[in-house]
């Protein structure tokens, strides 16, 4: 006869072991390494105190640019993804016959890995845009991804194309949960489509906005694959984002200690933003 403690370890033990080895221990070790001059190869991780952190904010000018670029990207793409996702959800819940087909079309990009999506758009921006621009004489379409501006918007377009279908699915579920009686009542009271949208639909889908904002915000901050395959961080590292900067600091410059200090700042940033955002969005939600 096993004790209940014994059964507890049998059921929870294996996955807890993996979780501790893969997530928890590396997290604490990571914080430790961020105060050392670890080079990743041997185990000579000498304690250097706050040196890495000081270096990030004083000598490493690139990090601040990377951070600002990432933040700017996150803000713009969060707005664009959720706005497009919500509009698509409104569009496909209007009961048109093509709705089912459209849902699939909008969701499709989401299935494909970020790396592959980045390569696809690299072709479209550099070859497709260029060809159309040349043919129609639109200078704006030419030379995409060759500078910071087009690289930035390239990433935003790619990310919006990829993720708005996912958000659409979440918003569809939320829209379908709104009782018809509420909308009918508003109609009887003389509300037009726009008024219904502002006063009934949007407040009632607010919980879905919380989730949508959380998912897009953390995904935008953590973006790596798409960044790597679309622009590779170029030209001159000007479209490099946080995740890529950490990778490069470690593996290209073999400065694991510095990279780990950046990773700790990254962790704190992502966690702080997510928690704050969830806290404020939850406060704004309306109970149905």
């Amino acid at each position: 006869m096993k004790t209940s403690k014994g059964w507890f370890s049998i059921f929870v033990g294996p996955i807890l072991f993996a979780f501790i080895v893969v997530v928890i221990i590396p997290m604490f070790m990571g914080v430790y390494y961020s105060f050392t001059s670890w080079n990743g190869i041997n185990n000579n991780a000498t304690w250097v105190g706050l040196k890495n952190y000081v270096e990030i904010f004083t000598e490493d000018k690139e990090f601040l640019d990377v951070f600002l670029f990432t933040a700017k990207f996150a803000i713009v793409s969060v707005i664009s993804i959720n706005l497009i996702g919500f509009l698509l959800a409104l569009l496909v819940t209007k009961g048109l016959k093509v709705s089912n087909f459209l849902r699939s079309a909008f969701f499709l990009p989401n299935l494909i890995g970020g790396l592959i999506l980045g390569f696809i758009w690299q072709f479209i921006f550099t070859k497709g845009f260029d060809a159309v621009g040349a043919k129609l004489g639109i200078e704006f379409l030419r030379g995409w991804l060759a500078d910071t501006q087009t690289g930035f918007w390239g990433l935003v377009i790619l990310m919006s194309w990829q993720m708005s279908g996912y958000m659409m699915v979440i918003y569809i579920a939320a829209l379908q949960n709104i009782p018809d009686s509420l909308l009918e009542a508003a109609e009887i009271d003389g509300a037009g489509s726009f008024e219904k949208l502002i006063h009934i639909t949007i407040p009632l889908v607010a919980p879905a906005f919380t989730i949508g904002l959380f998912l897009t915000l953390s995904n935008s901050f953590k973006l790596y694959d798409q960044n790597l395959s679309l622009t590779g961080g170029g030209p001159y590292n000007s479209t490099q984002m946080l995740a890529m900067n950490i990778y490069n600091t470690a593996f290209k410059f073999n400065d694991f200690g510095l990279a780990q200090a950046k990773a700790v700042i990254f962790l704190i940033t992502v966690a702080a933003i997510s928690i704050t955002q969830i806290y404020y969005s939850k406060k704004k939600e309306v109970e149905m």
Binding site: V12, F101, L102, G113, I124, I211, A263, L267
Partner: protein, 272 residues
């Protein structure tokens, strides 16, 4: 008035659908063109420049059968382990009302906020030391990273299952493992479908972790192979595009087979 509205709605729908699908059109049509054809006419259909050679060459260069098998093995293997172990853990966490169980659940949930990049360097260091930089180690790491979301989803579902069945089975002489595998696990089927789909989509497409873990080319997964393939043929868009199409086919087929479940899974997965 109503009809006019409907018409404009219809037009907007079709246009946005076409806009969303146009990247696939461009990639697909150009993948059948020669290199010269791509540079001459990007937007048109292949016509004079038609070739299927790209596909043959890309298929070989990607070592597709091998990389597909590797991806399949790693994805299915990791997903299965995640499913069984996270369901077991979630059930025990729900049914054991102690401080420890609620603390553990909280830690699993909070770990969702940890970005991979903040743990990857020490993780690779540890795994290298114990000799786990191979497919087995990769699956173990997927288990660790997949645990949070899977346990949260199972946890939520199990809370809604009445205890009486389990109690009856216990009285009949089943031990906990028997109760779980004979009674509980079959009841979890709906949420198991969701958990599998979310894990499969994520692991199948993952690039960074395999890149860090898999050094031996014979174990390269599709995204990994695609990355090196691109580096090697960066000037050959004809091959590269055919390669992209080949790499996309499995997951798109999977989508058309499991569409309903995928959409449902995504919805359930996000409402935590």
């Amino acid at each position: 008035m109503k009809n006019k509205n409907k018409l404009s709605l219809w037009i907007i729908s079709i246009l946005s659908g076409l806009l969303f699908l146009s990247p696939f059109y461009i990639v697909l049509t150009n993948s059948f063109k020669t290199q010269k054809g791509i540079f001459t006419d990007v937007m048109g259909l292949p016509k004079d420049f038609f070739t299927t050679n790209n596909y043959v060459e890309a298929f070989i260069a990607l070592d597709f059968v091998k990389s597909f098998t590797n991806s399949l093995l790693i994805t299915v293997g990791s997903s299965l382990i995640i499913i069984v172990l996270s369901a077991m853990a979630a059930w025990m966490l729900v049914r054991t009302k102690t401080k420890l169980s609620s603390f553990l659940f909280l830690v699993f949930a909070a770990a969702m906020l940890i970005p991979f990049q903040s743990v990857m360097l020490p993780l690779i260091n540890i795994m290298g030391k114990v000799g786990l930089l191979n497919p087995g180690g990769l699956m173990f790491m997927y288990l660790g990273f997949g645990s949070s979301l899977s346990i949260i989803l199972y946890h939520g579902f199990i809370k809604g299952i009445p205890k009486e069945l389990e109690e009856a089975a216990t009285i009949d002489g089943c031990n906990k493992l028997q109760v779980f595998f004979y009674i509980i696990f079959p009841l979890l089927k709906p949420i198991t479908v969701t958990v599998s789909i979310l894990n499969v989509m994520w692991i199948w497409n993952d690039f960074l972790l395999p890149q860090l873990v898999i050094n031996d080319p014979k174990w390269h997964t599709i995204p990994l192979k695609m990355f090196y393939f691109f580096g090697q043929f960066s000037k050959r868009w004809d091959l590269a595009l055919a390669g992209l199409v080949i790499a996309m086919i499995p997951i798109i087929l999977f989508y058309f087979v499991a569409q309903k479940h995928i959409i449902k899974g995504v919805t359930q997965g996000s409402i935590k």
